[in-house]
């Protein structure tokens, strides 16, 4: 995998991971307004990078395979095959 693609994937991993850690925190602190705001911010940024990744390199979810000339969802590499 090209280093540009790997870098963008890594950025997305970092943003989605951040979102998820706030998600788990909110499961036990549902009224923490600061955490809610951090979650929203991280999620928005993650979505932005995911869209950029999809546009440049192909879909990370089945739904993002639409508007493509073929069903790109099944393209390789799959996650366990990537050499970071």
């Amino acid at each position: 995998m090209h280093s540009t693609q790997l870098k963008m994937l890594n950025d997305l991993q970092a943003l989605e991971f951040t979102t998820f850690d706030f998600h788990l925190y909110l499961d036990t602190h549902p009224n923490d307004q600061r955490a809610l705001a951090e979650y929203a911010r991280a999620h928005c940024e993650a979505e932005r990078v995911k869209d950029m990744y999809t546009a440049s390199f192909g879909p990370l979810t089945a739904e993002d395979s639409i508007n493509q000339p073929c069903w790109r969802w099944i393209e390789e590499p799959w996650p366990w095959e990537i050499n970071y």
Binding site: D27, W80, E81
Partner: protein
Amino acid sequence: MWHYEKKLQYPAKVGKADLKMAKYLITQYGGPDGELGAALRYLNQRYTMPTGQSKGVLNDIGTEELAHLEIIATLVYQLTKDACVDELKAVDLGGHYADHDRALFYVDATGNPWTAAYIQAKGDPVADLHEDMAAEEKARATYQWLIDLTDDPDLKDTLNFLRVREIVHFQRFGETLDLIQEFQNSKHVF
């Protein structure tokens, strides 16, 4: 229901072909304190949790454990995919090869298959959360021993990520226990 994103939660990599590690790592795939057990335990317990909050935590941590299962699988896959049969025999993976070639399987480090006897669902939320907290501590300890077993810094990084996740899970289960106990005490449940 589940949604799959074609991406590992963490950029798991193996720096060198430390094939012996594959034999030890498999315990976190299908062993007693591994990620499969964790995922199935939490996802099964969630059905009978008494509050939305506890259902949420069991659901979400159970789901994250599936992502960790995928990371362990990736490590083992990467370690074994280019190994030749003689190399596998040399690290005592000949038995596994005879049964599975290089396919992964839900076994512990000595080849015993995964069993539901590794998990419990007592139906009592306090008992179940204590089991969950114990499971997280056992998994954390196992990751520490796996870190000790390898010299590969990339592998250590991935194992440490998984180790820290167990600490965070313990914290969330602990908070859930507190909320459940408050909930039960307010209902005068004994």
